[in-house]
Protein backbone atom coordinates (compact mmCIF):
# COMPACT_ATOMS: atom_id res chain seq x y z
CA UNK A 1 0.00 0.00 0.00
CA UNK A 2 1.32 3.42 -0.99
CA UNK A 3 0.22 6.95 -0.20
CA UNK A 4 1.36 10.48 -0.81
CA UNK A 5 2.12 12.24 2.44
CA UNK A 6 2.51 16.00 2.77
CA UNK A 7 4.36 17.52 5.67
CA UNK A 8 6.72 20.28 6.64
CA UNK A 9 10.32 19.13 6.67
CA UNK A 10 12.86 21.50 8.19
CA UNK A 11 10.62 24.44 7.41
CA UNK A 12 9.73 23.49 3.83
CA UNK A 13 6.51 21.95 2.55
CA UNK A 14 7.35 18.57 1.06
CA UNK A 15 5.46 15.66 -0.34
CA UNK A 16 6.49 12.08 -0.97
CA UNK A 17 4.96 8.81 -2.03
CA UNK A 18 5.77 6.29 0.69
CA UNK A 19 4.98 2.65 1.40
CA UNK A 20 2.76 1.93 4.38
CA UNK A 21 5.31 -0.14 6.31
CA UNK A 22 8.05 2.50 6.18
CA UNK A 23 9.13 4.32 9.28
CA UNK A 24 9.93 8.04 9.26
CA UNK A 25 13.65 7.25 9.61
CA UNK A 26 13.74 5.44 6.26
CA UNK A 27 11.82 8.21 4.54
CA UNK A 28 14.22 10.86 5.85
CA UNK A 29 17.33 8.93 4.87
CA UNK A 30 16.27 7.17 1.68
CA UNK A 31 13.63 9.42 0.12
CA UNK A 32 15.01 12.80 1.17
CA UNK A 33 18.70 11.87 1.47
CA UNK A 34 18.90 13.41 4.94
CA UNK A 35 21.43 11.02 6.43
CA UNK A 36 22.20 13.12 9.50
CA UNK A 37 19.59 11.12 11.37
CA UNK A 38 21.18 7.79 12.31
CA UNK A 39 19.91 4.28 12.77
CA UNK A 40 21.40 2.59 15.82
CA UNK A 41 19.22 -0.15 17.26
CA UNK A 42 16.14 0.37 15.09
CA UNK A 43 14.06 -0.69 18.12
CA UNK A 44 13.31 2.50 20.06
CA UNK A 45 16.10 1.93 22.58
CA UNK A 46 19.05 4.18 21.67
CA UNK A 47 17.73 7.51 20.38
CA UNK A 48 20.23 7.81 17.48
CA UNK A 49 17.21 8.35 15.19
CA UNK A 50 15.67 11.18 17.27
CA UNK A 51 13.90 13.95 15.35
CA UNK A 52 11.22 16.45 16.36
CA UNK A 53 7.61 15.96 15.27
CA UNK A 54 5.58 19.07 16.05
CA UNK A 55 8.35 20.06 18.43
CA UNK A 56 8.44 16.82 20.43
CA UNK A 57 11.44 14.49 20.28
CA UNK A 58 10.54 11.01 19.07
CA UNK A 59 12.38 7.91 17.86
CA UNK A 60 11.88 8.02 14.06
CA UNK A 61 12.82 4.32 13.68
CA UNK A 62 9.50 3.27 15.23
CA UNK A 63 7.35 6.17 13.99
CA UNK A 64 5.19 5.15 11.00
CA UNK A 65 5.82 7.52 8.08
CA UNK A 66 2.08 7.82 7.32
CA UNK A 67 1.65 9.52 10.72
CA UNK A 68 3.66 12.62 9.80
CA UNK A 69 1.10 13.69 7.18
CA UNK A 70 0.11 17.27 8.03
CA UNK A 71 2.78 17.59 10.72
CA UNK A 72 6.06 19.42 11.05
CA UNK A 73 9.31 17.42 11.19
CA UNK A 74 12.69 18.82 12.19
CA UNK A 75 15.84 16.77 11.71
CA UNK A 76 19.43 17.74 12.54
CA UNK A 77 19.72 19.27 9.05
CA UNK A 78 17.00 21.72 10.03
CA UNK A 79 19.03 23.30 12.81
CA UNK A 80 20.65 26.48 11.68
CA UNK A 81 22.23 29.35 13.56
CA UNK A 82 22.29 32.97 12.51
CA UNK A 83 24.22 33.80 9.34
CA UNK A 84 24.26 30.18 8.15
CA UNK A 85 26.43 29.14 11.10
CA UNK A 86 26.01 26.15 13.35
CA UNK A 87 23.07 26.29 15.73
CA UNK A 88 24.07 27.41 19.23
CA UNK A 89 23.47 23.91 20.64
CA UNK A 90 25.80 22.48 18.00
CA UNK A 91 28.44 25.07 18.84
CA UNK A 92 28.21 24.12 22.51
CA UNK A 93 28.70 20.45 21.66
CA UNK A 94 31.78 21.28 19.60
CA UNK A 95 33.29 23.51 22.24
CA UNK A 96 32.57 21.39 25.31
CA UNK A 97 33.70 18.10 23.77
CA UNK A 98 30.20 16.66 23.59
CA UNK A 99 31.11 14.87 20.36
CA UNK A 100 33.48 11.94 20.04
CA UNK A 101 32.60 9.42 17.31
CA UNK A 102 29.51 11.51 16.60
CA UNK A 103 27.03 8.71 16.00
CA UNK A 104 24.76 9.65 18.87
CA UNK A 105 25.23 13.39 18.33
CA UNK A 106 22.39 14.29 15.92
CA UNK A 107 19.86 12.51 18.12
CA UNK A 108 21.41 13.90 21.29
CA UNK A 109 21.19 17.44 19.92
CA UNK A 110 17.55 17.02 18.90
CA UNK A 111 16.70 15.85 22.43
CA UNK A 112 18.66 18.79 23.83
CA UNK A 113 16.64 21.10 21.58
CA UNK A 114 13.32 19.65 22.74
CA UNK A 115 14.45 19.98 26.36
CA UNK A 116 15.66 23.58 26.04
CA UNK A 117 12.56 24.65 24.12
CA UNK A 118 10.44 23.52 27.06
CA UNK A 119 12.87 24.17 29.93
CA UNK A 120 15.22 27.03 28.99
CA UNK A 121 17.22 26.79 32.24
CA UNK A 122 17.33 23.11 33.12
CA UNK A 123 18.94 21.77 36.27
CA UNK A 124 21.39 18.90 36.05
CA UNK A 125 18.70 16.37 36.89
CA UNK A 126 16.43 17.74 34.19
CA UNK A 127 19.23 17.53 31.62
CA UNK A 128 19.91 13.91 32.59
CA UNK A 129 16.24 13.09 32.31
CA UNK A 130 15.95 15.00 29.03
CA UNK A 131 18.70 13.00 27.32
CA UNK A 132 17.88 9.69 29.04
CA UNK A 133 16.51 8.29 25.76
CA UNK A 134 19.84 8.86 23.98
CA UNK A 135 22.66 6.39 24.48
CA UNK A 136 26.28 7.40 23.97
CA UNK A 137 29.03 4.79 23.85
CA UNK A 138 31.90 7.27 23.85
CA UNK A 139 31.71 10.33 26.05
CA UNK A 140 30.48 9.00 29.37
CA UNK A 141 27.84 11.75 29.19
CA UNK A 142 29.73 14.25 31.36
CA UNK A 143 30.77 16.44 28.41
CA UNK A 144 27.32 16.11 26.88
CA UNK A 145 25.69 17.44 30.04
CA UNK A 146 28.25 20.28 30.07
CA UNK A 147 27.39 20.99 26.43
CA UNK A 148 23.67 21.23 27.14
CA UNK A 149 24.35 23.52 30.11
CA UNK A 150 26.49 25.72 27.91
CA UNK A 151 23.79 25.77 25.23
CA UNK A 152 21.25 26.91 27.79
CA UNK A 153 23.47 29.82 28.77
CA UNK A 154 24.11 30.81 25.13
CA UNK A 155 20.43 30.74 24.30
CA UNK A 156 19.41 33.00 27.15
CA UNK A 157 22.27 35.44 26.53
Amino acid sequence: MKKTINFILNGHEVSAEVESHKMLLQVLRDTFGLTGTKEGCGMGECGACTVLVDGMNIDSCIFPAFEVHGKSVTSIEGLLGEGNRLHSIQESFVEKGGVQCGFCTPGMIMSAKALLDETPNPEDGEIRKGISGNLCRCTGYVQIIESVKDAAVRRTE
Binding site: M43, T50, D59, I62, E67
Partner: protein
Protein backbone atom coordinates in the same frame (compact mmCIF):
# COMPACT_ATOMS: atom_id res chain seq x y z
CA UNK B 1 10.55 -6.12 8.06
CA UNK B 2 7.53 -7.72 6.44
CA UNK B 3 5.25 -5.24 4.69
CA UNK B 4 1.96 -4.22 6.21
CA UNK B 5 -0.88 -1.97 5.14
CA UNK B 6 -1.67 1.03 7.30
CA UNK B 7 -5.16 2.44 7.82
CA UNK B 8 -6.06 5.69 9.55
CA UNK B 9 -9.75 5.72 10.45
CA UNK B 10 -11.29 8.83 11.97
CA UNK B 11 -14.15 7.22 13.88
CA UNK B 12 -14.57 4.17 16.09
CA UNK B 13 -17.16 2.77 13.70
CA UNK B 14 -14.75 2.95 10.81
CA UNK B 15 -12.07 1.26 12.93
CA UNK B 16 -14.41 -1.61 13.91
CA UNK B 17 -15.45 -2.29 10.33
CA UNK B 18 -11.83 -2.30 9.13
CA UNK B 19 -10.95 -4.74 11.91
CA UNK B 20 -13.91 -6.97 11.05
CA UNK B 21 -12.89 -6.94 7.41
CA UNK B 22 -9.36 -8.17 8.17
CA UNK B 23 -10.46 -10.90 10.62
CA UNK B 24 -7.37 -11.59 12.74
CA UNK B 25 -4.85 -10.34 10.19
CA UNK B 26 -4.88 -6.76 11.50
CA UNK B 27 -3.81 -5.07 14.74
CA UNK B 28 -4.77 -1.74 16.23
CA UNK B 29 -1.83 0.55 16.79
CA UNK B 30 -1.70 3.46 19.24
CA UNK B 31 1.78 4.95 19.79
CA UNK B 32 3.35 1.77 18.44
CA UNK B 33 6.13 1.68 21.04
CA UNK B 34 5.26 -1.91 21.90
CA UNK B 35 3.64 -3.03 18.66
CA UNK B 36 6.08 -1.65 16.06
CA UNK B 37 9.00 -2.97 18.09
CA UNK B 38 7.42 -6.43 18.17
CA UNK B 39 6.87 -6.30 14.40
CA UNK B 40 10.50 -5.27 13.86
CA UNK B 41 11.62 -8.11 16.14
CA UNK B 42 9.47 -10.44 13.97
CA UNK B 43 7.52 -11.59 17.03
CA UNK B 44 4.30 -10.79 15.18
CA UNK B 45 3.61 -10.17 11.49
CA UNK B 46 0.22 -8.54 11.01
CA UNK B 47 -0.90 -7.86 7.46
CA UNK B 48 -2.41 -4.51 8.38
CA UNK B 49 -2.26 -1.93 11.14
CA UNK B 50 -5.26 0.18 12.04
CA UNK B 51 -4.09 3.40 13.65
CA UNK B 52 -6.13 4.92 16.47
CA UNK B 53 -4.31 8.28 16.30
CA UNK B 54 -6.94 9.96 14.13
CA UNK B 55 -9.92 9.14 16.36
CA UNK B 56 -10.80 12.27 18.33
CA UNK B 57 -13.11 10.42 20.74
CA UNK B 58 -10.07 8.72 22.32
CA UNK B 59 -7.92 11.75 23.01
CA UNK B 60 -8.93 13.99 25.88
CA UNK B 61 -8.22 14.03 29.62
CA UNK B 62 -11.26 15.21 31.56
CA UNK B 63 -11.49 16.17 35.21
CA UNK B 64 -15.01 15.77 36.47
CA UNK B 65 -14.55 15.17 40.16
CA UNK B 66 -12.62 12.08 39.20
CA UNK B 67 -10.42 11.66 36.21
CA UNK B 68 -11.26 10.34 32.75
CA UNK B 69 -8.43 9.66 30.33
CA UNK B 70 -9.07 8.82 26.70
CA UNK B 71 -7.06 5.72 25.80
CA UNK B 72 -4.94 7.75 23.35
CA UNK B 73 -3.80 10.14 26.09
CA UNK B 74 -0.03 10.41 25.76
CA UNK B 75 2.10 9.36 28.74
CA UNK B 76 3.78 12.76 28.28
CA UNK B 77 0.50 14.61 28.73
CA UNK B 78 -0.31 12.63 31.88
CA UNK B 79 3.12 13.55 33.23
CA UNK B 80 2.36 17.24 32.68
CA UNK B 81 -1.28 17.20 33.83
CA UNK B 82 -1.80 19.49 36.83
CA UNK B 83 -4.69 17.47 38.33
CA UNK B 84 -2.82 14.15 38.04
CA UNK B 85 0.18 15.81 39.67
CA UNK B 86 -1.89 17.17 42.55
CA UNK B 87 -4.49 14.47 43.22
CA UNK B 88 -2.99 11.25 41.84
CA UNK B 89 0.72 11.43 42.72
CA UNK B 90 1.19 7.66 42.41
CA UNK B 91 0.09 7.84 38.77
CA UNK B 92 2.24 10.91 38.21
CA UNK B 93 5.26 9.06 39.58
CA UNK B 94 4.57 6.01 37.40
CA UNK B 95 4.30 7.98 34.16
CA UNK B 96 7.37 10.06 34.88
CA UNK B 97 9.58 6.97 35.17
CA UNK B 98 8.00 5.14 32.23
CA UNK B 99 10.69 4.69 29.57
CA UNK B 100 12.36 7.87 28.27
CA UNK B 101 11.20 11.19 26.76
CA UNK B 102 11.06 9.94 23.16
CA UNK B 103 8.87 7.00 24.17
CA UNK B 104 6.68 9.06 26.53
CA UNK B 105 6.04 11.52 23.69
CA UNK B 106 4.27 8.84 21.63
CA UNK B 107 3.26 6.05 24.04
CA UNK B 108 -0.33 6.06 25.28
CA UNK B 109 -2.03 4.96 28.49
CA UNK B 110 -4.35 2.71 26.45
CA UNK B 111 -1.39 1.02 24.79
CA UNK B 112 0.20 0.47 28.18
CA UNK B 113 -2.95 -1.37 29.35
CA UNK B 114 -3.82 -3.21 26.15
CA UNK B 115 -0.27 -4.48 25.76
CA UNK B 116 -0.98 -6.13 29.11
CA UNK B 117 2.61 -6.70 30.15
CA UNK B 118 3.04 -7.67 33.83
CA UNK B 119 5.46 -4.72 34.05
CA UNK B 120 3.05 -2.07 32.67
CA UNK B 121 3.85 0.94 34.85
CA UNK B 122 0.38 2.48 34.72
CA UNK B 123 -1.23 -0.68 36.10
CA UNK B 124 -0.29 -0.69 39.82
CA UNK B 125 -1.44 2.90 40.46
CA UNK B 126 -4.67 2.39 38.54
CA UNK B 127 -5.27 -0.89 40.39
CA UNK B 128 -5.12 0.83 43.78
CA UNK B 129 -7.33 3.64 42.46
CA UNK B 130 -9.86 1.02 41.31
CA UNK B 131 -10.09 2.46 37.82
CA UNK B 132 -12.86 1.47 35.41
CA UNK B 133 -12.06 0.63 31.79
CA UNK B 134 -14.55 1.74 29.14
CA UNK B 135 -14.42 -0.76 26.30
CA UNK B 136 -16.18 -0.10 23.00
CA UNK B 137 -17.17 -2.62 20.37
CA UNK B 138 -19.58 -2.79 17.44
CA UNK B 139 -22.25 -3.88 19.95
CA UNK B 140 -21.79 -0.95 22.33
CA UNK B 141 -19.80 0.03 25.41
CA UNK B 142 -19.04 -2.08 28.47
CA UNK B 143 -17.38 -1.12 31.71
CA UNK B 144 -14.78 -3.42 33.20
CA UNK B 145 -13.17 -2.91 36.63
CA UNK B 146 -9.39 -2.84 36.27
CA UNK B 147 -9.27 -5.93 38.54
CA UNK B 148 -10.96 -8.01 35.83
CA UNK B 149 -9.05 -6.63 32.83
CA UNK B 150 -5.74 -8.51 32.78
CA UNK B 151 -5.83 -12.23 31.98
CA UNK B 152 -2.17 -13.22 31.50
CA UNK B 153 1.07 -11.91 30.00
CA UNK B 154 -0.05 -10.01 26.89
CA UNK B 155 -3.66 -11.07 27.43
CA UNK B 156 -6.73 -9.14 28.52
CA UNK B 157 -10.48 -9.44 28.50
CA UNK B 158 -11.04 -7.65 25.16
CA UNK B 159 -11.84 -9.41 21.90
CA UNK B 160 -9.85 -8.51 18.79
CA UNK B 161 -12.40 -6.00 17.45
CA UNK B 162 -12.95 -4.11 20.69
CA UNK B 163 -11.18 -0.84 21.47
CA UNK B 164 -10.32 0.51 24.90
CA UNK B 165 -11.98 3.88 24.82
CA UNK B 166 -11.19 5.49 28.16
CA UNK B 167 -9.95 4.86 31.69
CA UNK B 168 -11.98 6.38 34.48
CA UNK B 169 -10.62 6.98 37.93
CA UNK B 170 -13.12 7.68 40.68
CA UNK B 171 -12.56 10.69 42.93
CA UNK B 172 -10.41 9.05 45.59
CA UNK B 173 -10.61 11.98 47.98
CA UNK B 174 -12.64 10.77 50.90
CA UNK B 175 -14.61 13.43 52.75
CA UNK B 176 -14.16 11.66 56.09
CA UNK B 177 -10.58 10.41 55.87
CA UNK B 178 -7.33 11.66 54.45
CA UNK B 179 -5.96 9.65 51.54
CA UNK B 180 -2.35 9.25 50.47
CA UNK B 181 -0.71 7.16 47.77
CA UNK B 182 2.68 6.20 46.39
CA UNK B 183 4.35 4.34 43.50
CA UNK B 184 7.80 2.78 43.59
CA UNK B 185 9.78 1.01 40.90
CA UNK B 186 13.01 -0.92 40.84
CA UNK B 187 14.84 -1.22 37.55
CA UNK B 188 18.38 -1.98 36.45
CA UNK B 189 18.76 1.70 35.59
CA UNK B 190 16.28 4.54 36.07
CA UNK B 191 13.43 4.46 33.55
CA UNK B 192 14.12 0.83 32.63
CA UNK B 193 11.35 -1.78 32.51
CA UNK B 194 10.53 -2.67 36.10
CA UNK B 195 12.22 -5.56 37.91
CA UNK B 196 9.35 -4.97 40.29
CA UNK B 197 6.99 -2.10 41.01
CA UNK B 198 4.55 -1.34 43.80
CA UNK B 199 1.68 1.02 44.52
CA UNK B 200 -0.01 1.78 47.84
CA UNK B 201 -3.08 3.80 48.78
CA UNK B 202 -4.19 4.42 52.36
CA UNK B 203 -7.07 6.37 53.88
CA UNK B 204 -6.37 7.36 57.47
CA UNK B 205 -8.70 8.15 60.34
CA UNK B 206 -6.20 9.60 62.76
CA UNK B 207 -3.83 6.72 63.43
CA UNK B 208 -6.22 4.06 62.16
CA UNK B 209 -6.04 2.94 58.55
CA UNK B 210 -9.62 2.70 57.18
CA UNK B 211 -8.78 1.76 53.62
CA UNK B 212 -5.65 0.11 52.29
CA UNK B 213 -5.08 -0.94 48.69
CA UNK B 214 -1.84 -2.48 47.48
CA UNK B 215 -0.66 -3.61 44.05
CA UNK B 216 2.55 -4.81 42.44
CA UNK B 217 3.91 -5.21 38.91
CA UNK B 218 6.43 -7.59 37.29
CA UNK B 219 5.87 -10.17 40.03
CA UNK B 220 3.22 -12.39 38.46
CA UNK B 221 1.57 -13.19 35.13
CA UNK B 222 -0.47 -9.98 35.43
CA UNK B 223 -0.19 -6.81 37.53
CA UNK B 224 -1.40 -7.99 40.96
CA UNK B 225 -3.68 -6.57 43.61
CA UNK B 226 -2.37 -7.77 47.00
CA UNK B 227 -5.54 -8.42 49.00
CA UNK B 228 -4.05 -10.65 51.69
CA UNK B 229 -1.60 -7.97 52.68
CA UNK B 230 -4.31 -5.29 52.50
CA UNK B 231 -6.44 -7.19 55.05
CA UNK B 232 -3.65 -7.00 57.63
CA UNK B 233 -3.64 -3.22 57.47
CA UNK B 234 -7.29 -2.29 57.18
CA UNK B 235 -8.76 -1.13 60.50
CA UNK B 236 -5.39 -1.17 62.21
CA UNK B 237 -2.87 1.28 63.52
CA UNK B 238 0.17 1.03 61.29
CA UNK B 239 3.15 0.14 63.45
CA UNK B 240 6.66 -0.96 62.40
CA UNK B 241 5.76 -4.49 63.57
CA UNK B 242 2.67 -4.51 61.37
CA UNK B 243 4.68 -3.31 58.38
CA UNK B 244 7.19 -6.09 58.99
CA UNK B 245 4.34 -8.60 58.81
CA UNK B 246 2.92 -6.94 55.68
CA UNK B 247 6.30 -7.27 53.97
CA UNK B 248 6.45 -11.00 54.80
CA UNK B 249 2.91 -11.53 53.52
CA UNK B 250 3.68 -9.70 50.27
CA UNK B 251 6.73 -11.92 49.73
CA UNK B 252 4.39 -14.91 49.80
CA UNK B 253 1.48 -13.37 47.96
CA UNK B 254 3.39 -12.46 44.78
CA UNK B 255 4.33 -15.11 42.22
CA UNK B 256 7.33 -13.87 40.29
CA UNK B 257 9.58 -15.73 37.88
CA UNK B 258 13.29 -15.57 37.14
CA UNK B 259 14.10 -13.97 33.79
CA UNK B 260 16.78 -11.83 32.15
CA UNK B 261 15.90 -8.89 34.37
CA UNK B 262 16.00 -10.50 37.79
CA UNK B 263 15.42 -13.58 39.93
CA UNK B 264 12.29 -14.85 41.61
CA UNK B 265 13.86 -14.54 45.06
CA UNK B 266 15.03 -10.96 44.64
CA UNK B 267 11.67 -9.93 43.25
CA UNK B 268 9.84 -11.33 46.29
CA UNK B 269 12.14 -9.55 48.72
CA UNK B 270 12.21 -6.22 46.92
CA UNK B 271 8.44 -6.13 46.49
CA UNK B 272 7.96 -6.67 50.22
CA UNK B 273 10.33 -3.78 50.90
CA UNK B 274 8.73 -1.51 48.30
CA UNK B 275 5.22 -2.13 49.62
CA UNK B 276 6.38 -1.28 53.14
CA UNK B 277 8.03 1.90 51.90
CA UNK B 278 5.04 2.70 49.71
CA UNK B 279 2.70 2.52 52.71
CA UNK B 280 5.14 4.71 54.64
CA UNK B 281 5.21 7.30 51.85
CA UNK B 282 1.43 7.27 51.50
CA UNK B 283 1.06 7.92 55.25
CA UNK B 284 3.68 10.65 54.96
CA UNK B 285 1.52 12.28 52.32
CA UNK B 286 -1.52 12.12 54.61
CA UNK B 287 0.51 13.75 57.36
CA UNK B 288 1.60 16.49 54.99
CA UNK B 289 5.24 15.44 55.12
CA UNK B 290 5.62 15.15 51.35
Amino acid sequence: MKKFDYYQPETLKEAFSLMEKFKGRAKYVAGGTDLIVRIKQKVIQPGALISLRGIDALKSIRHNGGLSMGSMTLIRNMERDAVITRDYPALKQAVSVLANPQIRNVATVGGNFCNSAPCADCAPPLLVMEAILMIDGPGGTREVPVDDFFKGPGENCMDSVEILKAIKVPDIRNPKFKTGMAFLKTGRVAQDLAIASAAALVSMDGKICRECRLAAGSVGPIPLRLRRAEKLVKGEEITPELLEQVGKTVEQEVSPITDIRSTEEYRRLVTGVMIRRGIGQAIGMVNGEL
